[in-house]
């Protein structure tokens, strides 16, 4: 789908020649200001605010269709532009509730999209204000903990009596039986690894929890060959507490066989949704 780059409909221009029936939403910000942020949006669109009382939506004008492309590079450019606008608003007004990619408010019989944005802010005003209070002065950080399963498994094999015994058994058995014992050994190791992951998770969770206001456990992801992600958290952290969190994570990162990925600060994407 094409977006006409040459059509710029700023807040002050009024009626455009091309019908613009949508407002792309970047975030809601902690300000009642009506202001233009310039052509910093996706595809260079003019970004401006739609205020309601002491809050505003940060938007650009667009057709009432989702932005879509099969070209990963194009989508990547959009996603980065989306984030750049949210960052700009975050920097300018201090507290923002970011929206996910491609949230577009359209017109409706009897009301234009601008009016619909205002109506939405008015209808959700209490919820938005409450969410703003929960994230005020805070930022989101991503914490991912990896381990090297082979290294950890070796430690387990060295310390577990059951597994040590099985290893001895394999050595003394004829080939066919040894195979069976090897299966048994693998199962035992798998169980021990899971138990160990469980224990590590709970330990790290409680250590990290001390330094954050809120946290979400995300799905773990596939990592590279010799590493496995055992923990993926989104943490909401008070402005001055990120150093403490960093220190705690450094402790985990230094453990043999473990490593930590620490990203941020992000706008609080994970803490403004329904859950």
């Amino acid at each position: 789908m094409q977006h006409a780059d040459n059509v710029r409909v700023g807040p002050s221009e009024g009626e455009a020649t091309t019908k613009v029936e949508g407002r792309y939403l970047y975030c809601v910000a902690d300000s009642g200001e009506k202001v233009s942020l310039g052509p910093i949006g996706m595809n260079g669109e003019e970004v401006y605010t739609v205020p309601y009382k002491d809050i505003c939506a940060v938007v650009h004008d667009c057709p009432a269709e989702p932005y879509q492309s099969a070209d990963a590079e194009v989508v990547k450019t959009w996603v980065i532009a989306h984030q750049r606008v949210v960052d700009k608003a975050w920097e300018k007004w201090g507290t923002v509730l970011p929206l996910g990619f491609d949230t577009i408010i359209r017109d409706q019989a009897g009301s234009d999209p601008q009016q619909n944005v205002e109506n939405w802010l008015a209808a959700d005003y209490q919820t938005i204000k409450r969410k703003m209070e929960t994230v005020r002065g805070k930022a989101e950080y991503g914490v991912q903990v990896f381990w090297q399963p082979r290294l950890i498994a070796r430690h387990i094999a060295e310390t577990s009596a059951e597994i040590g015994g099985l290893e001895e058994d394999i050595k003394s058995k004829p080939r066919g039986l040894a195979y069976m014992y090897r299966q048994k050994l693998e199962n035992a190791l798998k169980r021990e690894l899971e138990a160990k992951a469980d224990q590590c998770f709970k330990d790290f969770y409680s250590r990290i929890k001390k330094h954050v206001c809120d946290l979400r456990v995300e799905k773990t992801k596939k990592a590279d060959n010799d590493r496995q992600m055992i923990m993926n958290l989104s943490c909401l952290v008070d402005g001055d507490k990120s150093t403490d969190l960093g220190e705690e994570l450094e402790g985990i990162d230094k453990m043999e066989g473990f490593s930590v990925r620490f990203t941020g600060p992000w706008p609080p994407y994970s803490f403004v949704g329904a859950s």
Partner: protein, 97 residues
């Protein structure tokens, strides 16, 4: 350790947030974006193959279990907050899920 937000190294982290999260509007004035998750998946696949979940059988079940454990803990917290002091109305949706 210091957090990083280098735009190249953390693109996948940004995608995880921007494609799946953020403030949600429940209203019929929102343009339907049914095709969007597909974009997200394709893009992720193209970028890093990161969308693949844990290796099946090995840790998948554990991952589900550990997240259920966390939800339960959060659930308990939410319940105690709801039944706690009555300073103002409680929005049930804040505790859903």
């Amino acid at each position: 350790m210091e957090p990083t937000r280098d735009s190249h190294a953390t693109l996948v982290d940004l995608l995880d947030r921007i494609l799946d999260k953020g403030l949600v509007i429940y209203a019929d004035i929102i343009v339907s974006v049914a095709g969007i998750p597909l974009i997200g998946v394709n893009l992720r696949a193209a970028l890093a193959g990161m969308e693949t979940m844990l290796e099946y059988g090995v840790m998948q079940e554990w991952d589900e279990r550990i997240r259920a454990w966390e939800r339960e803990r959060r659930g308990e917290k939410a319940v105690s907050m709801v039944s706690g002091d009555g300073d103002g109305p409680v929005d049930a949706t804040a505790f859903a899920g």
